[in-house]
């Protein structure tokens, strides 16, 4: 890039992925990035994470797909997407016009399928792939990859074997022991961890006496889940040797900084994109104010400060 944004004070390097700010976008909450061009400068976003992409097009779920809940929302889009073919032909060329890293969130229904998508997307213009392991494993009768360490590890290995790109694995919070999950995917070779995916929830329409969502359950996101997300990042940061991209209910710079103090090396904004479509760019300004207020030069220097022994608590920072 011609010139570093913000004198490079917000620049981070996530397992080789160079971002001008620590802020990327939650998969499925920022479309393909292009939808937000009216509101922000895509080149001032740390990285654009595009929506979950599968080998073939997917129509998603029928019925109502979203509902607001107290300080949050449930969604059951069902990973609707035009498929990897369409993405490579129509979307990626558009995105390549912008000087911003592109992370493609991918999913499949078997480790093999994950591998195929990863191979298909191993092309110029794609800077990293993020594995969505919160999907039912069709072969294993629909149990979710993200709740079983072995299954998750198998998916990560399948993806790593089929791509030259940096690989991020997105963890599900719907588990008893997230640290075991994190170590399993680290062991399997993931280059970074993003967390958290949504919490499973439902809302019932008491007049119709039926669940509101067509899929019955949906994923809970938004500020309601932030305390849970920060706690999980706080735990995992003390256990793994890979960087963490923290997410879950970030609404502003304060919240983003909270995740970084808890051990996240970068953050992702999700639901807030629906409310403040320019947030992925503007949040950077609040981060700079914070650095100035605390006399810190680089955003990297605040990562993990709130851990029991501060940054010494993070294996990743002490390799």
């Amino acid at each position: 890039m011609v010139k570093a944004l913000y004198e490079g004070r917000l620049a981070v390097d996530i397992a080789g992925l160079k971002m001008q700010t620590p802020v990327t976008t939650g998969s499925g909450t920022f479309g393909f990035g292009l939808e937000f061009r009216d509101f922000l400068d895509l080149e001032k976003v740390g990285a654009v994470t595009v929506k979950g992409t599968s080998l073939l097009p997917a129509a998603g779920n029928k019925g109502q797909r979203a509902i607001e809940t107290p300080s949050g929302m449930l969604n059951c889009i069902g990973l609707e997407n035009p498929g990897s073919e369409y993405f490579l032909e129509h979307t990626l060329p558009e995105l390549r016009k912008y000087d911003v890293p592109v992370i493609v969130n991918i999913y499949g229904h078997s480790p093999e399928e994950y591998g195929e998508v990863a191979k298909k997307l191993d092309v110029d213009g794609v800077d990293a792939v993020e594995i969505n392991i919160s999907c039912p494993n069709v072969k294993e009768g629909g149990i979710v990859f993200g709740t079983c360490p072995e299954a998750a590890a198998e998916v990560v290995r399948a993806v790593k074997a089929n791509t030259s790109k940096m690989v991020i694995t997105k963890l599900s919070p719907n588990v008893t022991d997230i640290v075991t999950m994190a170590k399993a995917v680290e062991e399997a070779g993931t280059d970074a961890i993003s967390m958290i995916n949504t919490l499973l929830g439902t809302v019932i329409d008491i007049d119709r006496q039926k669940p509101v969502l067509g899929n019955i359950t949906g994923g809970l996101s938004g500020p309601a889940v932030r305390p849970v997300a920060v706690r999980l990042v706080y735990q995992v940061a003390q256990a793994v040797n890979v960087p963490i991209i923290g997410m879950g209910g970030i609404m502003n710079a304060r919240d983003a900084i909270e995740f970084m103090l808890a051990g996240a090396s970068a953050v992702s904004v999700g639901t807030v994109n629906f409310i403040q479509p320019d947030i992925a760019e503007t949040i950077a300004h609040g981060m700079l104010e914070y650095l100035d207020k605390h006399n810190v030069q680089s955003i990297n220097d605040i990562v993990g400060l709130a851990l029991p022994n501060g940054r010494a608590s993070m294996p990743y920072l002490n390799k």
Binding site: G31, D38, F39, F274
Partner: protein
């Protein structure tokens, strides 16, 4: 025509009936661009509950004054907050959003019910006073109190109520077939409850009259990002927020 996040200043609110209010805000960047059929996404408060913006069809613009209006029913948490905003208050509003109505009709017939009559008001204004006829249906006289608005705007105003308390007893389908048969109208624009829109669309198909429908589906972003409002089109998926909310009736396969 770029979408913007406007800090709109509330001009004032009027009461249409016991549960419906008309809100006028000053936001030239939106007022100057909005077309009939488009909508805006309003943030009713800065706290996290209610969290999401609420979409409202634009009910009219005053380009000279730089203002536009939305018409809403006080029904939930968000609209109760909205009902309390006063002249001078600021609201963050994203818009204009979506695609508007086709404006090429020679003699348009508007058909609407409930809050669907709000975007149709802007459409009637777009065609010009006296250019449109309107057929409105409601359960009771109170629900069709919109006549006070359309008497000024439209040429002929046809009314139906389920209980017969105003106009013809029954739904809009009690009058629509003969209106279509008259051969006066070259395009029908319908906005209202889904059953009404489906019935009208089918009647137009049979009568071989063009028909545009304005769909409403639960949406989170209004920008084509969240896919909450997706529906099925011919051989492709449609997004109500960006491909619509206005569609030609035949475009929509799965409502």
């Amino acid at each position: 025509m770029p979408k913007t996040i406007a800090t709109a200043k509330v001009v004032g609110q009027k009461v249409l009936n016991s549960t419906i209010k008309i809100l006028e805000v000053y936001a030239p960047e939106i007022a100057n661009q909005a077309l009939p059929g488009q909508f805006v996404n309003v943030q009713v408060c800065k706290n996290t509950a209610p969290l999401l913006r609420r979409p409202f069809g634009v009910a009219g613009v005053n380009k000279e004054a730089g203002t536009f209006t939305i018409i809403y029913r006080i029904i939930g948490e968000a609209t109760h907050i909205l009902a309390d905003v006063c002249s001078g208050d600021e609201l963050s509003i994203v818009g204009p959003l979506g695609k508007g109505f086709d404006m090429t009709a020679e003699k348009p017939l508007l058909v609407g019910g409930g809050l669907g009559l709000a975007p149709l008001k802007f459409l009637a204004e777009g065609f010009g006073a006296g250019k449109t006829d309107i057929l409105m249906g409601g359960r009771t006289k109170e629900e069709v109190c919109w006549t006070c608005i359309y008497d000024e705007l439209s040429d002929k105003v046809f009314v139906t109520t389920d209980d017969g308390s105003d106009g013809t007893k029954g739904t809009v389908m009690a009058l629509l077939p003969e209106l279509l048969a008259s051969g006066v109208y070259d395009c029908v624009y319908v906005c209202g409850p889904v059953p009404m829109m489906k019935a009208v669309a089918n009647a137009c198909l049979e009568a071989n009259v063009k028909c545009q429908v304005s769909l409403e589906k639960y949406m989170a972003c209004g920008l084509g990002a969240c896919l909450s409002c997706a529906c099925g089109g011919i051989g492709k998926r449609l997004k109500v927020c960006t491909d619509g909310p206005v569609f030609w009736a035949e475009e929509v396969v799965e409502w």
